[in-house]
Amino acid sequence: MATAQQLMVGMADIKTAKSGATFTCLGLGSCIGLAAFDRESGVAGMIHIMLPEAFKDKPVEKAGKFADTGIVAMLDEMFRLGANPSRLVMAYAGGAQVFKFGNPSSTTLDVGLRNSAAVEKILKAKGFRVLGIDIGGPNGRTVTYEQATGIIKVRTVNGGEKVLCNLKG
């Protein structure tokens, strides 16, 4: 058995693997970490989404930065590794508002909320099965997804670590 390959999924990154990877999205604030798995081929992927949609007037330099361009790009990569996009299962976490002290002015957008709404809308439109969701609230999250076991864990600064779901069922 090969040892697990550690894949750090930094902001705007997309990582995919055929087998044996452990994906980590460290320090999700308003960002969203989305994990996807194909139970037949075993192919898995994870994306660290920063914003809900690409700007109309700017070229997209990194597809993974935005929910709309990023999810499509991750599906393409997984497809090339042999996954069938129509049978993927998914889970996601993040979308927090970590600046919890003070009075936010009306001009401060809740990016986390918008990211969550964008991801939900895209996954619903594509008809994916979503097995776990942990979004919103005042605490940042670190999400790890172990491909071999399917287990997704969420850790926060205050609340310790909990299992969100198992993508293997």
Partner: protein
């Protein structure tokens, strides 16, 4: 008039650093007066390419931080923040309040408001210095405080700035106490593209597109 996609030139970039340097000089002096301990800073750096890389540049970003975030408005608008690694935040609290919270879950209103005050003082001194130099109005909106991983809070600030405004670059630097250097903080400023153009044109260094 459409926004030029061109990048800033060398002269403009060095002017940005110089402006930030002057603003930060005033901010660190104010922090020294507030805490009774001297502070100095590194030369500011400018990230103009991949703003999503910024959270990785603030020291050990996967550790616990206390941070204060302040959007600013006026002729020049943008987003600025000071974030402190937890041990440095504890030192600041001890200097200001005589004691510090035991851990992140113990941060109460008093500790949070002390951090808000640190933010207010750093922010207003930074903005006033640049405002006086350029004769452009810049004023702070109420600060917000977070106790979380450095990566989580800085990523959230960058996302908020990119979502809300057309931004071209971020200025960042490290501040530290003298003589020990044990108490450190990281400064981040993301001005809007339009605001930055205004500053550069007031200083006579905006190159014609």
């Amino acid at each position: 008039m459409s926004m030029s996609p061109r990048n800033y030139g060398l002269m403009e970039m060095s002017a940005v650093k110089e402006v930030a340097n002057i603003g930060l000089g005033h901010a660190t002096t104010a922090l020294s007066e507030l805490t009774g301990h001297s502070f100095n800073m590194d030369i500011p750096e400018v990230e103009a390419v991949a703003l999503e890389k910024i959270p990785e540049t603030i020291g050990d970003a996967m550790e616990l931080f206390a941070g204060v975030y302040m959007p600013f408005e006026g002729d020049v608008e943008g987003h600025m923040a000071f974030v402190f690694p937890w041990p440095s935040a504890v030192q600041l609290w001890t200097w200001l309040l005589g004691s510090a919270p035991d851990g992140p879950e113990a941060v109460d209103e008093l500790a949070a408001s002390a951090m808000l005050e640190v933010g207010n003082i750093l922010n207003s001194n930074f903005l006033n210095a640049i405002s006086n130099m350029t004769n452009l109005s810049m004023h702070a909106t109420p600060p917000l405080v977070s106790i979380d991983l450095g990566y989580s809070m800085v990523a959230s600030i960058v996302a908020n700035a990119e979502m809300q405004d057309v931004v071209a670059l971020a200025v960042e630097t490290r501040i530290f106490d003298l003589p020990t250097g044990a108490t450190t903080g990281y400064f981040l400023c993301i001005p809007t593209r339009a605001g930055l153009d205004l500053i550069l044109s007031r200083l006579g260094v905006l190159e014609v597109a």
